[in-house]
Symmetry: C2
Subunit: 241 residues, 2 copies
Amino acid sequence: MIKKVGFVVIGDEILNGKTADKNINFLAKSLDEYGFDLVEVRVIGDVFDTIVETVKHFSKKYDYVFTCGGIGGTHDDITFACVASAFGLEIEQNQEALRRLSAYYKERELPLTDTRTNLAKMPKGCKLIDNSISIAPGANVENVYVCAGIPKIFNVMLNDILPTMQGGIKVHKYTIFKENLSEGTIGDTIAKIASSYDDVSIGSYPKFHDNGFSTEIVMRSRNKKNLDLCYKDIKSYIDKC
Amino acid sequence: MIKKVGFVVIGDEILNGKTADKNINFLAKSLDEYGFDLVEVRVIGDVFDTIVETVKHFSKKYDYVFTCGGIGGTHDDITFACVASAFGLEIEQNQEALRRLSAYYKERELPLTDTRTNLAKMPKGCKLIDNSISIAPGANVENVYVCAGIPKIFNVMLNDILPTMQGGIKVHKYTIFKENLSEGTIGDTIAKIASSYDDVSIGSYPKFHDNGFSTEIVMRSRNKKNLDLCYKDIKSYIDKC
């Protein structure tokens, strides 16, 4: 059974264009490598009810859910409270998170302000996700991984989580890239070949350069035998073009 | 009344990590500039029912909807058919689109294959969205703008559409950027100030560099008077830190 994943990107700064998201592609590539299917991404703002409803919906709909953003300690960081609410949990001062943060700030001679202790106000009973960059941990509640929005931190969290996820089934793939060949020229035949391979997903991606165009055909499947056959068919056709 | 916008990014290649989306940030920045609120983005795959349902839902929920991706002429391009289905329209060979495409390919001495005429199979009665890069037009049906996924083409389409959209109300903003000041240090006071300005959205964005950290405070509002007051409060506090 293929494991499906949903991703919720949380943050007004993505929606108003201040910040360009980098996490979608990192998560997408990582999940693909581990054999999980990313099925849907939603980008939503820092709005309590919207976050709660989206997390609830995704947790039921997908095998695994990731969120990023909104887990800092400032007034606009509400993701932990939303995830707690989605699962009917209380928010509590997580003692292990507080211990890590206290040690981190003590070493740096920084006072433990409310904003800093807020970082440890997490859903009751959550598992911590380590953060080797700025210490403040993420939270795992049931099938939801609540991660930081800052790409560098999101990446280290993800690299810890992925090897612990169960049930990935590797997707095999081939790519054929051809300069000066337009998809308009080869598309009719590719469509015919595609119709003979139900379990191979064939993507056709045109590129427009200043001096011409090219086409990339990507074949993906978990059925290696059919993928190999499909690749042979397309390769031998493209070689003749 | 603030106009709300939803954006549907369509394409397996975004979800499997082959391609990093560039359109979300371009649309987000452009809408912000014109005074529209991007409220939600969904990234979904090349799946007929999912696209139909998402377009239907967004068209009802938001004042304007943009889609990108899946309007090429190959077998994996199904967005026009999905949008037609969402509005109960037929797909027809759009005569003006076909005229433009025929002229374009004739000039380049390229045959009018099915894949190329497919580019003109559009929802009946749609308005065309010009494409000065590769000619194949996008489609406007009711409040939905169906655009190309290739960023260069998405951008030219958007630049045509935005000035025609009605009802934008400019958002005013201030940004304060401070090196070597952590949001953990200033967050408690910023939270207090934020609580006095309901109609000013204040975002606090930490950055971690190799040699330290910094904080960016972004204040945004359509109420210029309150924004100015809020900015003065925060600026005078930060200057003292």
